[in-house]
């Protein structure tokens, strides 16, 4: 029964009756749209985690320093032997930055990331409103969406604290499978391109190519290309079909590694575009394919894959159109 329809009783006080009368004119308060709430929660969480996580870390470091001071004699001995801390291994380099993304290590202040900056094991990346692509030392392209926080815990392991990432193992280039640890479960790529997004109460993993294994406690599930697994914190796992191309992947495409076209055949460039956009290349006929195989490109241009395709083909006799998951290459009309 609605509260406004509830009958009054004789025992109700005047105050209660007037409150009911007043609320009879009221409507429920507006609830924020769930999608907006989720988006803002994720963003604010990443901000809060970056700010207060570092404070907590600093406190722990402070505690450790105090403990070390209490053991002064031991500390002096270590200093006198000239033992210096071993520099942490470089596990990645910054390949692309869009907007501002921040990095920190060992509780130091966050600093804006620059292209080519080395990232040592233990580094924390916080993208805020920016996006960043990393080249892993073990191979592969790791890309972080806006409002993401990630800790590089090793050469083949990272902890996704909040937000979304995309990983392209680039086939044989990777020396070791990447493991992504999250609060909901651990992902391990098996020669693949995948996207993982950690929301407040679940982990979503979409696979574009290859296979990803997800482990949570003693449960393991695999997802293959064209599948999305949603792992709830409760342990519930749902499997859905997804497109491996389109808007959902667009942010990762914008962070695609550079492709130098100078001296390369057009067909190689088309393969790269297809790989970066989750599509396949189809030729309208044998003549078109022959032209693509024989055309050698010169020059340099740095754009996202599809705009770059348009720019490159504009200088050739070929054209393209997107037809579902295909990039159809055709001749330009005479």
């Amino acid at each position: 029964m609605n509260g406004k329809d509830r009958p009054h009783t004789d025992t109700e006080s005047d105050s209660e009756r007037s409150l009911r009368a007043l609320f009879a004119r009221a409507e429920p308060r507006l609830a924020p749209p769930p999608a907006h709430a989720e988006e803002i929660r994720r963003a604010v969480y990443a901000e809060w985690d970056a700010v207060t996580g570092r404070r907590a870390l600093m406190r722990r470091v402070g505690g450790a320093v105090a403990a070390a001071a209490a053991l002064g004699a031991v500390a002096l001995l270590v200093m006198n032997t000239g033992t210096a801390p071993t520099p942490a291994a470089v596990v990645a380099r910054v390949e692309r930055v869009q907007g501002t993304a921040l990095g920190s290590r060992d509780g130091a202040a966050f600093e804006a990331l620059r292209v080519d900056a080395p990232l040592a094991q233990g580094s924390i990346i916080s993208t805020a409103d920016g996006q960043v692509a990393l080249r892993l030392a073990s191979g592969g392209s790791l890309r972080l969406a806006a409002q993401t926080q990630l800790r590089l815990t090793g050469s083949t392991e990272a902890e996704l604290v909040a937000g979304a990432l995309y990983f392209d193992s680039e086939n044989a280039a990777a020396n070791g499978a990447l493991a992504v640890v999250t609060a909901v479960g651990t992902l391990r790529d098996i020669g693949t391109q995948f996207m993982a997004e950690l929301r407040s109460n679940r982990l979503e993993v979409g696979v574009r190519d290859g296979r990803v294994a997800i482990a949570r406690d003693d449960v393991r599930a695999d997802a293959v290309a064209g599948e999305k697994l949603t792992v709830e914190r409760s342990g519930l796992i749902r499997r859905d079909a997804i497109d491996v191309y389109g808007e959902e992947w667009a942010w990762a495409e914008r962070l695609a590694p550079p492709f130098e076209i100078d001296g390369r055949y057009l067909v190689d460039f088309l393969d790269w575009v297809a790989d970066q956009t989750g599509r396949s290349v189809a030729f309208a006929d044998a003549d078109v394919e022959r032209t693509a195989r024989q055309t050698r490109l010169t020059g340099s241009i740095d754009l996202e894959p599809l705009p770059k395709l348009a720019a490159v083909l504009a200088l050739t006799d070929l054209d393209y159109s997107l037809e579902g998951d295909r990039i159809l290459i055709t001749s330009k009309p005479l």
């Binding site: 007043l22 009221a26 803002i40």
Partner: protein
């Protein structure tokens, strides 16, 4: 425990990176701040999203400066209000260079026709809407669980037993929360409506 003390403790836990505190903070304050912003932004959901996002992000960055001198919600509203003011100033600056399509005479007439009040009794309609709005504002000014229990009881019609179950407390505790919520609502709503003088004012807006 007083609300101020609760606010200070919540902030202290947030600064200590307590994830449960973040959940309480976001679930408790985000919907209220969202409504605060949306009513001031012409009911525009996209701009509201942007402003609330920026406001809460700034708030978590400045948590260390919160001293508990004002309620946490008041502190958040101050940050949000500043963001709204900046936004409005930006919009005004940009509009100086834009000719709105709606300003063309023919279009203006059509827009006016569309936005004319539907009610035959605009004043009564306005009073009803204003009362509704003030009730909602008062509910949002209360501690989160006070606003929720009043909405559950008087708008959704939940029984005390149902409210107790939703709060995860016993019947007596739920009744106690309701009693405190009613007193707090009475104070806040009374303060909101005290200075309002309406022609032919009747008992509209007086919960006592």
């Amino acid at each position: 425990m007083t609300d101020d003390l609760q606010d200070r403790r919540l902030v202290k836990r947030l600064l200590a990176h307590d994830h449960e505190a973040f959940r309480q903070f976001f679930d408790g304050y985000f919907p209220r701040l969202y409504r605060f912003a949306r009513t001031r932004l012409g009911d525009d959901p996209e701009t509201t999203k942007e402003i609330v996002h920026v406001s809460l992000s700034k708030a978590v960055r400045k948590l260390g400066t919160y001293r508990g001198e004002a309620a946490l919600f008041t502190w958040l509203c101050t940050i949000c209000r500043n963001e709204i003011n900046d936004h409005v100033e930006r919009v005004v600056r940009e509009r100086k260079h834009v000719v709105l399509t709606e300003d063309l005479p023919d279009v203006r007439a059509a827009v006016d026709a569309l936005t004319a009040p539907a009610s035959d009794e605009p004043e009564a309609n306005f009073r009803r809407l204003e009362t509704t709005r003030l009730i909602q504002v008062a509910l949002d000014q209360l501690p989160t669980h006070y606003g929720n229990v009043l909405e559950w009881k008087y708008i959704y019609g939940f029984s005390v037993e149902e409210i107790a179950a939703k709060l995860g407390v016993g019947l007596d505790a739920a009744q106690s929360v309701l009693a405190r919520a009613k007193r707090a609502f009475h104070d806040v709503y009374g303060a909101l409506t005290r200075d309002i003088v309406t022609p032919n004012a009747d008992t509209d807006g007086d919960p006592a």
